[in-house]
C-alpha cells in the first residue's frame, strides 16, 4: 500500500470547510449486563462471565437492566435531551461470530433520548454541539484474529471470541452535523470527546476509559469547497481510541480528503480504520455494499416507558456537571482561564478539589498536582489519578509544611516515599527522619561550623558580596540533609558576618 497523498492542513482548510459528526459508544458501569445477571468486570478470563442469555442460547430471553436505563436517562438529561415517554428496542440483524444471536438488541427509530446539546470550549470560543440522539444497546463479544497480517478477520488463520463483553450495556451518543468549526475542527472534536468523557464521569455511570474501550469514538468527516451549499461525501473512521487520536483522525481525514478532491477524485463513502502508530486511516468496509440490517421492534422486550416522575427524580439527582463545576472552582480558586484549562487537561480537577476538601489551600494543592506529581506521572507513564497517592495524603504534606516541620524540598522527598509505597506522609517523615531543623541553637552551631569551613566565601560576604552567601546556605542545607529552613539559615549567616 502506498502512503496516502496529503494536502497540508492549512492549505486544505483554505479551500475546504469540514463538517464533522461523532458517534460515541460508552459502556455503562452497571454491576450486571444489559439483559442478564452476568457481571461486567473488565479483564476476567475469557468466556467466564457468560450465561444462556448473553450467549444467545436457544430459548433464552433478555430482561432489561433498570440500572442501565437509569444511566442512559442521566446521560440524556445531562446532554439537555428530551426523554421519550415511550420507545422500543429494535433488533439490528447481521451475521458476525462475536454476536451470539446474530442480531444486536439496539434502538432504531425510537431512541430513548433525542435533541440535546453539549457546549465545548476551544481557545476561549464556545461551540454548541447538537446531540441528535442517545440510545441504548448491548455490546458484542470481542474477536481476536490470530495470524494474518492485518489483525482483522480476513487472512487470519483462526479467530477466538470472548463473549464476556457480549451484553454489556452500551450507550450510543450521536451528534448532529458539526459545522462552522473551520480550522479548529480537530480541536473541537477533541474538546467534544473530552467534555463528554468528563460529563459521563461526573454522572458516575461509566469509567469512560478509552484505552479499555469503555468509551469509543467513530468520527465522521466530510469536506465541501468553501462557499458550497452542499456537504461533501463523508467517511466514518473507527478505532479511534484516545482523545489525541480523535484530534489526529480528524486532521488526517481533512488532509487526505482534500488530496483526493484536489486530484480530481471523489471521496468514497466508507468506513475507515485509524492507525495509532502512523496517525493515518485506511479503508474498511465500503458503505456501498452496506448491509440491510432489517431493523424491527424487539418482540422479546416490552416497550420502555419511563414515567415522568422517575425522569424528574433522576434530573433532580444529577450531580454538579463539569461546566458548572469549572466555573465554580475557577472563582473559588482564583484561576485564570489558562490555568483552569491546564488543570482540566491534566485531569487534575477532581484531585485538586479533593485535596482542597481535605483541608489544603487551593494554591498549594494545585501546585503539587500540576508540578511535582504531574512530573512523576509522566515519568511513570500513568494518568495522574493512577499515582498511588491520595488527595488526603497531599493535603497532609502541605499541612506539615504549613506548620513548619517540612519545607518544599523535604516535601518532595515525602512524596517520593509515599509513591514508593513507604506509607503515609507521617510514616515517611518518621522513617526517613525528615524534619526542618528549627532548633535555633542547633542551626546557629551548624552555621558557625560552615563559616569556619568556608573562610573564603565568608570573607567575600564580609566584604559586601552578599551573593556569596548562597554557597554558605547551600553548605548548611547539605550539612542538614536539606532539613534546615534555608531562609532562616541565610538570615543567620548574614547576621553573623555582619552583612545584614
Amino acid at each position: 500500500m502506498t502512503a496516502p497523498t496529503l494536502v497540508p492542513y492549512e492549505e486544505a482548510l483554505a479551500k475546504y470547510e469540514p463538517v464533522l459528526g461523532v458517534e460515541t459508544h460508552i459502556e455503562l458501569g452497571t454491576a450486571t449486563k444489559m439483559f442478564c445477571g452476568c457481571p461486567t468486570t473488565f479483564g476476567a478470563p475469557p468466556n467466564t462471565q457468560v450465561c444462556p442469555v448473553c450467549l444467545g442460547l436457544p430459548g433464552s430471553l433478555p430482561v432489561t437492566n433498570k440500572a442501565a436505563i437509569e444511566g442512559i436517562i442521566k446521560i440524556g438529561l445531562a446532554l439537555n435531551c428530551t426523554i421519550a415517554e415511550w420507545c422500543r428496542f429494535a433488533r439490528k440483524n447481521y451475521f458476525y461470530p462475536d454476536m451470539p444471536k446474530n442480531y444486536q438488541i439496539s434502538q432504531y427509530d425510537e431512541p430513548l433520548c433525542v435533541d440535546g446539546y453539549l457546549d465545548v470550549e476551544v481557545d476561549g470560543e464556545t461551540f454548541r454541539i447538537g446531540i441528535e440522539r442517545v440510545h441504548m444497546e448491548e455490546d458484542t463479544g470481542k474477536s481476536l484474529h490470530v495470524g494474518g497480517a492485518t489483525g482483522r478477520i480476513h487472512g487470519a488463520d483462526y479467530s477466538l471470541v470472548d463473549y464476556n463483553r457480549a451484553g454489556i450495556p452500551l450507550v450510543e451518543i450521536v451528534t448532529k452535523p458539526i459545522t462552522g468549526t473551520g480550522d479548529k475542527a480537530p480541536l473541537v472534536a477533541r474538546a467534544y470527546a473530552t467534555e463528554l468523557r468528563e460529563l459521563v464521569r461526573a454522572l458516575g455511570v461509566s469509567d469512560v476509559r478509552m484505552e479499555e474501550g469503555s468509551m469509543r469514538c467513530d468520527i465522521n468527516v466530510s469536506l465541501a469547497p468553501r462557499g458550497a451549499t452542499e456537504w461533501g461525501t463523508r467517511t466514518e473512521t473507527k478505532n479511534v481510541n484516545s482523545l489525541r487520536s480523535v484530534e489526529r483522525a480528524v486532521r488526517h481525514e481533512i488532509e487526505r480528503q482534500a488530496a483526493v478532491l484536489e486530484s480530481g477524485g471523489k471521496v468514497v463513502q466508507e468506513t475507515r480504520h485509524f492507525h495509532e502508530d502512523t496517525g493515518t486511516t485506511t479503508p474498511g468496509r465500503s458503505k456501498e455494499e452496506a448491509q440491510d440490517y432489517r431493523y424491527f421492534p424487539e418482540p422479546d422486550l416490552v416497550p420502555l416507558a419511563p414515567s415522568r416522575e422517575w425522569v424528574e427524580q433522576l434530573r433532580a439527582s444529577l450531580p454538579e456537571l463539569p461546566a458548572a463545576r469549572r466555573r465554580r472552582v475557577q472563582a473559588e480558586w482564583g484561576l485564570t482561564d489558562l490555568e483552569l484549562r491546564d488543570v482540566v487537561n491534566a485531569g487534575a480537577l477532581d484531585l485538586i478539589e479533593q485535596t482542597v476538601k481535605a483541608g489544603c489551600a487551593p494554591g498549594p494543592a494545585r501546585k503539587w498536582w500540576m508540578n511535582e506529581l504531574s512530573r512523576r506521572a509522566t515519568e511513570q507513564g500513568v494518568e495522574l489519578d493512577e499515582l498511588p497517592i491520595t488527595p488526603a495524603q497531599v493535603a497532609r504534606v502541605q499541612a506539615l509544611i504549613d506548620e513548619g516541620s517540612l519545607n518544599d524540598k523535604l516535601a518532595r522527598q515525602v512524596f517520593e516515599g509515599v509513591l514508593a509505597g513507604e506509607g503515609d506522609p507521617d510514616e515517611v517523615v518518621a522513617a526517613r527522619g525528615l524534619k526542618v531543623v528549627s532548633d535555633e541553637g542547633e542551626l546557629a552551631a551548624i552555621v558557625d561550623q560552615v563559616i569556619a569551613e568556608n573562610a573564603d566565601a565568608a570573607d567575600k560576604v564580609r566584604a559586601g558580596k552578599v551573593a556569596a552567601a548562597g554557597a554558605l546556605v547551600g553548605a548548611v542545607m547539605k550539612a542538614t540533609r536539606g532539613q534546615a529552613d534555608a531562609a532562616r539559615a541565610r538570615e543567620l549567616i548574614l547576621q553573623k558576618l555582619g552583612a545584614s
Partner: protein, 498 residues
C-alpha cells in the same frame, strides 16, 4: 393393572397416588411400557429416557413417603414438546441443526413442572422449529395419528397430541404460535389450550415467532388441561413479556363446567366456505348443545379475521428470520464444512443450508424479504396494522359476548403427504386458530364428535378475552360433560385400538 393406569386421566392418577393406592414408579412404568408397545407405530417421541423418568418417579415416591406436601400433579407423567429446554435430555426443536444438543438449563415450564413433581417421560416430535401443521416437517420423520396411522396428528405439536391421544402420556406440553396446540388437539380428539400470551413463560422455549409463541397444555380431559395449565403458568421474571398478574382460576372453572347465562358468539367469518361439511355439522350441534345448557348464542362478525392468515405469514416469518439467525455453527449444534480451509462465513452458510429443512428455509426467506429496507412498510408494517384491526375486532366482539366459538380446524386430519408439496393448503389448517395468536387472547379446543365423512375427530374452539382463560375452560368443560353423557364415554373411546 398397568394397562388400566394409562387409560386414567391425570386427575385420577394424582388421586390414586395421593391415596397411596399406586406409586409414581408404577404409573411411570405403565406409561413407559405403553410407549414401548405402541410408539414404534406412532412416532410421537424423539427421545425417551426410562431411567431418568423412573428416577424422578422414585424421588416423588420418597418425598411422599417422607410426608412432604406435594403439588396436585405430583408423580403424573408428562411428555414435553422438544422445543422446551431440558437439562437431562437433548433438545432438538425437530431440527438437524440442533441434533444432540444438551441444553445447560431448563425452560421455566420444564423447571416448574419438575418442581411440581411431574415425571418427564421424554421429548415429543414436532414440525421443525414448530413451523408446520402436520409434524411432517420434522427432520426426524413424521408422527402418525392414532385414529388413522396414514393420517397426520396435526402440528406443529403433533408428537404431543399423538402421545396423549394414544395413552402414552396423560399430559403433554405444546406451543401454539398459529394453532400448534389447538389444531393437533382437534384432529386427535383431545383437549388443548393456547393460554393468554404472556400467561405462560417463554423462557427456555426455542423461539419461532416471539410475539406469538405461547406454551400450553394437552390433556384428554378439560380438567387435566386446566391442572397442567395452572401448574406451569404465572409471572416469570426471566420473560419480559410475561404478565405479572394472578393465573386465572382455570381449574375451578373446569370443575364448574356451567354456561347458564353466558353469552356466546359464533364467529361469522370462521365457517362456511373451505370448511368440511362434517366439521360444520358437529360444530353446529355443539352450539345447539350450549344453547340447550342455558347459554345465549348470537352470531358475531369479526370482519378482519379474513386477513389474519396473510398477516400471520408476514409477522411469524419475519420474527423467525431473526430468531433463527443464531444457529450459525459457532457455539453449539451442527457444524458443516469446518475443515480448516473455509471461512466462518462459509461454514455458517453450509451449516444452515444443510441443517434447516425446506419449510424453515422458506419462512426465513419470506421473513428476510418482508423486513428488508424498502419492503418493510408494505409487508411487516402493514401486517402489524392488520394485527391491530384484529385486536379491535376481538374487543368489539367481547363487548357483545363473553366468549367466541368456531370450529378449531376447517377439516379433520388429512392424509400423510397430502399437503407437503402445497404450502398454501397446509397453511389453511390454521385459518381459524391464527386470530387468537395475533390478538394474544386465550382459546381452547375440545372434542365435539366425529365427522360423518371420515369418522375422524372434530374440535370446537372457544375463545375469550385476554386473561379470561378460565372462561374457555368453563365452556369447554360444559361441552365435554354434556357430550360424554350423550356418547356414554369420552370421544377417544371410539378410537380404533392400536
Amino acid at each position: 393393572m398397568s394397562g388400566e393406569l394409562t387409560r386414567k386421566s391425570a386427575a385420577e392418577l394424582a388421586e390414586l397416588m395421593a391415596a397411596g393406592q399406586v406409586s409414581a414408579v408404577e404409573v411411570t412404568q405403565a406409561h413407559l411400557d405403553r410407549i414401548a408397545e405402541v410408539d414404534g407405530r406412532i412416532g410421537a417421541f424423539l427421545h425417551v429416557d426410562a431411567e431418568v423418568a423412573l428416577a424422578q418417579a422414585r424421588a416423588v415416591d420418597s418425598r411422599r413417603a417422607a410426608g412432604e406436601e406435594l403439588g396436585p400433579l405430583a408423580g403424573v407423567p408428562i411428555a414435553h414438546k422438544d422445543v422446551f429446554t431440558t437439562v437431562d435430555m437433548p433438545t432438538t426443536a425437530g431440527s438437524k441443526i440442533l441434533e444432540g444438543w444438551r441444553p445447560p438449563y431448563d425452560a421455566t415450564v420444564t423447571a416448574r413442572l419438575r418442581a411440581a413433581g411431574l415425571v418427564i417421560l421424554g421429548k415429543t416430535n414436532l414440525d421443525e422449529f414448530a413451523m408446520g401443521s402436520s409434524t411432517e416437517n420434522s427432520a426426524y420423520g413424521p408422527t402418525r395419528n392414532p385414529w388413522d396411522l396414514e393420517r397426520v396428528p396435526g402440528g406443529s405439536s403433533g408428537g404431543s397430541s399423538a402421545a396423549v391421544a394414544s395413552y402414552q402420556a396423560p399430559l403433554a406440553t405444546g406451543t401454539d404460535t398459529g394453532g400448534s396446540i389447538r389444531q393437533p388437539a382437534a384432529v386427535t380428539g383431545i383437549v388443548g389450550t393456547k393460554p393468554t400470551y404472556g400467561g405462560s413463560s417463554r423462557y427456555g422455549l426455542i423461539a419461532f415467532a416471539s410475539s406469538l409463541d405461547t406454551p400450553g397444555p394437552f390433556g384428554r380431559t378439560v380438567l387435566d388441561a386446566a391442572l397442567l395449565h395452572e401448574a406451569f403458568s404465572g409471572h416469570d421474571p426471566m420473560d419480559s413479556t410475561s404478565i405479572d398478574r394472578p393465573v386465572p382460576p382455570v381449574v375451578e372453572a373446569a370443575r364448574r363446567a356451567d354456561v347458564a347465562g353466558l353469552r356466546i358468539g359464533v364467529v361469522k367469518e370462521l365457517g362456511g366456505e373451505g370448511y368440511q361439511p362434517g366439521v360444520l355439522a358437529r360444530f353446529n350441534e355443539a352450539v345447539e348443545l350450549l344453547e340447550s345448557l342455558g347459554a345465549k348464542v348470537a352470531e358475531v362478525s369479526c370482519p378482519h379475521f379474513t386477513y389474519a392468515l396473510p398477516a400471520y405469514y408476514l409477522i411469524a416469518p419475519s420474527e423467525c428470520s431473526s430468531n433463527l439467525a443464531r444457529f450459525d455453527a459457532m457455539r453449539y449444534g451442527l457444524r458443516v464444512g469446518d475443515d480448516g480451509t473455509r471461512s466462518a462465513e462459509e461454514v455458517m452458510a453450509l451449516t444452515r443450508a444443510q441443517g434447516f429443512g425446506p419449510e424453515v428455509k422458506r419462512r426465513i426467506m419470506l421473513g428476510t424479504y418482508a423486513l428488508s429496507s424498502g419492503y418493510y412498510d408494505a409487508y411487516y408494517g402493514k401486517a402489524q396494522q392488520v394485527r391491530t384491526l384484529i385486536i379491535r375486532d376481538f374487543e368489539a366482539a367481547f363487548e357483545q359476548v363473553d366468549v367466541l366459538v368456531s370450529p378449531t380446524t376447517p377439516t379433520t386430519a388429512f392424509p400423510l403427504g397430502d399437503r407437503v408439496d402445497d404450502p398454501m393448503a397446509m397453511y389453511l389448517a390454521d385459518l381459524a386458530t391464527i386470530p387468537s395468536n395475533l390478538a394474544g387472547t386465550p382459546a381452547i379446543s375440545v372434542p365435539c364428535g366425529l365427522a360423518d365423512e371420515d369418522d375422524l375427530p372434530v374440535g370446537l374452539q372457544v375463545m375469550a378475552p385476554v386473561l379470561a382463560d378460565d372462561r374457555v375452560y368453563r365452556v369447554g368443560a360444559a361441552v365435554e360433560r354434556a357430550l360424554t353423557d350423550r356418547w356414554g364415554g369420552p370421544l377417544l373411546s371410539k378410537a380404533p385400538a392400536l
